[in-house]
């Protein structure tokens, strides 16, 4: 199956792309994508504690199971709550 993966902010910058299509085995979870990204750019692991995941515009978890055509996004920390 094929999913679209989107990268923002620091991930966009470090991975040097803002989205891509990814072929995944049936039943793959978000974690499968993270493992691939970690193989490419190991420092992504440092962001796991502060990064959110979304599937089809809804917050999800690394354990969320994916379906063909899903849109997955990795959402690094959003604008701080303190300022403004």
């Amino acid at each position: 199956m094929k999913v679209k993966v989107k990268y923002f902010a620091v991930l966009h910058e470090e991975l040097d792309r803002d989205e891509e299509d990814m072929d995944l085995p049936e039943g793959a979870t978000v974690r499968v994508i993270l493992d691939r990204l970690e193989a490419e750019w190991p420092e992504i692991a440092e962001y796991y504690d502060v990064m959110q995941t979304s599937v089809n515009w809804e917050y999800a978890t690394p354990d969320s199971e994916l379906s063909d055509g899903d849109e997955v996004a990795f959402i690094p920390p959003v604008t701080g709550g303190q300022d403004v």
Binding site: F8, E13, V50, E58, I75, P76, V78, T79
Partner: protein, 144 residues
């Protein structure tokens, strides 16, 4: 109205979206690009968003406000791209028959917007350095 835009935000944008004959009180929040962050001089900011999810989350905040205060007139707009000092990055308006609820709901909307709407800010300082801003603690969540 729940919108991510690359255009300049006009003062009337969110106000017009919430005006109604029975709304005696409108509370309007504007986030403006400051000339400094904790004393360090800012040159300009860049905002990036995940527009469809951001607009969906804005609409969810409006639903939360409907449940909490029974108010239906909420509008939010956030600008993306390069913003200069003094420009408006975000505008939120809430209209209500009475002011107390309008103040509470507008403040709530801004807090939730910072928590759940996927928008990122990069600060470019006057000394040339730049970085994505630090996380809101609410977002700390383990992969495991």
């Amino acid at each position: 109205m729940f919108k991510i835009t690359s255009e300049e935000i006009e003062l009337g944008d969110v106000i017009r979206a919430v005006e109604a004959g029975d709304a005696g009180a409108i509370v309007h929040f504007l986030g403006v690009v400051r000339n400094n962050t904790e004393g360090r001089e800012v040159s300009y900011l860049e905002y990036e968003a995940y527009p469809p999810m951001a607009e969906k989350k804005m609409a969810e905040i409006a639903e939360e406000i409907h449940e909490k205060w029974g108010l239906d007139r909420v509008a939010m707009i956030h600008r993306v791209g390069r913003l200069e000092i003094g420009e408006v990055s975000v505008a939120v308006a809430v209209a209500s028959p009475h002011r107390k609820e309008a103040f509470e709901a507008c403040h709530y909307a801004m807090n939730r917007l910072k928590q759940i709407v996927p928008i990122w800010k990069r600060e470019v300082w006057a000394d040339g350095e730049e970085e994505w801003v630090k996380p809101d603690p609410v977002f700390f969540q383990s992969k495991a």
